[in-house]
């Protein structure tokens, strides 16, 4: 697969501070890369470098094969970019602003109007086109920023927190839109909303302190959670002690966590030692001892769990055990 977006050893230093540290990335057509990381991790800095706005201290980035520093104009033609915070010319009306961007993109006359029309329809902007951008609400501003990035139907989209400030309907629309345009494009989005990654991204990259810690499918990342394939059961309190001991005795169980579940019920969670399925083993044990189990389920592990563990200073390394 041809990488539409590629970065090799991308590094940015601000004086002594290393904001982005040797990041390698490749995003091909049909992929949506979700960029995750705590505040100040270097997500925006990385995106600014790929968009050709910031010059990397080291390393290189390219868009559709054009190096963003050596060959900036062709690279930018293939890029739709929504900078962090969606900065816009506040004194222009939304319509005049889109017309300006279309003109700068070489879209004039009928093609320009058609492009603006489609972008306006996709971002649902028709009602505010005549309004100065300064007077728009935050969500509408973000949508103007999005419309601007989509205008020329570019093969590469880099969107820094595109759904920040959108209402739930618009977030939904936005995700639907990304899924719709995805097949022909390489899309990089940054977000703090982890469910969004599950919803639209084909890959998730976690970055912290400027370093890329993980780059995998969201499902695979979630499987790095210690809770992945863990089994939770809720049972009568009188069985709890014995059950916890027997579960902990199983070969494939790492540890057993215990939490309250009600007045005379207990909730036990058996964590899988190798991340593999342990439900069958637990099931046999339940039958053998005749425990009264009210609820039994397999956990999948959640992305935010993995995110927290990877990006907190005292978090553990990815993997199991």
């Amino acid at each position: 697969m041809l990488a539409l977006v590629a970065a090799q050893g991308l590094t940015k230093r601000f004086d002594a501070h290393v904001a982005v540290d040797r990041v390698d990335l490749e995003v091909g057509a049909g992929e949506v890369l979700g960029f995750l990381g705590p505040n100040g991790a270097g997500k925006s800095t990385t995106m600014k470098m790929i968009a050709g706005f910031l010059t990397p201290s080291e390393g290189r980035a390219s868009i559709c094969g054009h190096d963003v520093t050596e060959d900036p104009i062709p690279a930018r033609r293939n890029l739709g970019y929504l900078p962090e915070g969606a900065p816009l010319y506040g004194d222009m009306t939304a319509g005049a602003f889109l017309a300006f961007v279309a003109a700068m993109r070489g879209l004039s006359g009928r093609r320009g109007r058609a492009a603006i029309g489609l972008a306006v329809e996709r971002t649902d902007l028709a009602e505010v086109l005549a309004q100065p951008i300064d007077t728009l609400s935050k969500g509408f501003k973000r949508r103007v920023g999005l419309a601007q990035a989509l205008l020329h139907d570019p093969p590469v989209l880099i969107l820094d927190e595109p759904t920040d400030g959108l209402d739930p309907n618009q977030k939904h629309e936005m995700r639907a839109l990304i899924r719709e345009i995805r097949p022909s494009k390489a899309i990089v989005i940054s977000t703090h909303i982890l469910e969004e990654v599950d919803a639209v991204c084909t890959r998730a990259a976690i970055i912290a302190d400027g370093r890329l810690l993980a780059d995998a499918a969201p499902g695979d990342l979630a499987s790095w959670s210690p809770l992945h394939n863990a089994v939770s059961l809720t049972l009568g309190a009188r069985f709890a002690d014995a059950a916890a001991a027997s579960l902990a005795g199983l070969d494939r169980v790492e540890t057993v966590q215990r939490g309250p579940a009600g007045p005379d019920a207990a909730r036990l969670t058996a964590l899988s030692r190798d991340g593999g399925p342990i439900l069958a083993d637990v099931g046999l044990l339940i039958q053998a001892h005749g425990w009264e189990v009210e609820d039994l389920r397999t956990e999948t592990g959640a992305l935010d769990d993995v995110f927290r563990r990877m990006t907190q200073p005292d978090g553990e390394a990815p993997g199991h055990g």
């Binding site: 104009i73 300006f100 961007v101």
Partner: protein, 244 residues
């Protein structure tokens, strides 16, 4: 280049979105007229020429041109729109030239609106209109030089007030450099050749040449070079400072 035209159009229209531009032009015209008729003693001189009008331009421009140029880049940097703007497929050079031209044409418009003064002098007497045309050209070039300096200094900061003050200062220095005004101050401390050289870089001395009615190629080349050099410096500054 098409993108220069698009940048120009957006920037130029931007001057008229708020009433500030109109206020600016009115104040400029009022000041030009006041200086010409009262301070410049236009009527008392009893001469059918516009010297008492044009002699003020370098000094009026000293405050008006930096006011036009201060926002060119400082505002883009302050609001962050520079990130959007410079990731569009436009070269920094085209962006700098487009913005500069918008400022220059705006200044030209203000200058053109002084035409009633020209009409007045034609009504009252028979001026040498060749000299007047030359003076207008010289004045316009002078404005261009100030605005080119202002473009560069506007890219240096996100603060428009700082850009304004810096531009006034630098333009002032370029004006008086080697001019008659500093000669008495420096006295004999500086060799005459140095003063001569300095004065050949002075915006004012070239302006004074043109206002006499002689458009010398050297004076034109001087303005073209000044504008070109400062715009090149502006492009470099924009590239260096855009992401700070």
């Amino acid at each position: 280049m098409a993108s220069v035209a698009h940048v120009f159009r957006r920037e130029f229209a931007g001057y008229f979105i708020t009433p500030v531009a109109y206020v600016f032009i009115v104040i400029f015209l009022a000041l030009a007229a006041a200086l010409t008729f009262y301070v410049g003693a236009f009527f008392e001189r009893g001469r059918a020429d516009l010297l008492s009008f044009f002699q003020w331009h370098p000094w009026i421009y000293l405050f008006f041109m930096p006011a036009i140029s201060m926002r060119l880049w400082a505002e883009e940097r302050k609001t962050g729109t520079i990130e959007l703007f410079l990731t569009l497929p436009v070269s920094t050079a085209a962006a700098v030239v487009g913005k500069f031209l918008a400022a220059w044409v705006f200044a030209g418009l203000a200058l053109a609106l002084t035409f009633p003064i020209w009409l007045t002098v034609n009504y009252l007497g028979e001026p040498d209109n060749g000299v007047v045309v030359a003076s207008y050209i010289g004045s316009f070039l002078m404005a261009g030089a100030y605005l080119a300096i202002g473009s560069c200094l506007s890219a240096l900061t996100r603060n428009q007030v700082i850009a304004f003050v810096l531009t006034v200062t630098v333009c002032f220095l370029f004006n008086v450099m080697g001019a008659g005004a500093v000669q008495p101050v420096l006295g004999d401390a500086v060799p005459a050749e140095l003063l001569e050289t300095l004065s050949s870089f002075s915006l004012l001395s070239h302006f004074n040449n043109i206002v006499k009615g002689v458009i010398d190629l050297r004076d034109l080349a001087y303005y073209a070079l000044t504008i070109g050099v400062w715009l090149a410096a502006a492009a470099i500054t924009v590239d260096l400072k855009k992401a700070d």
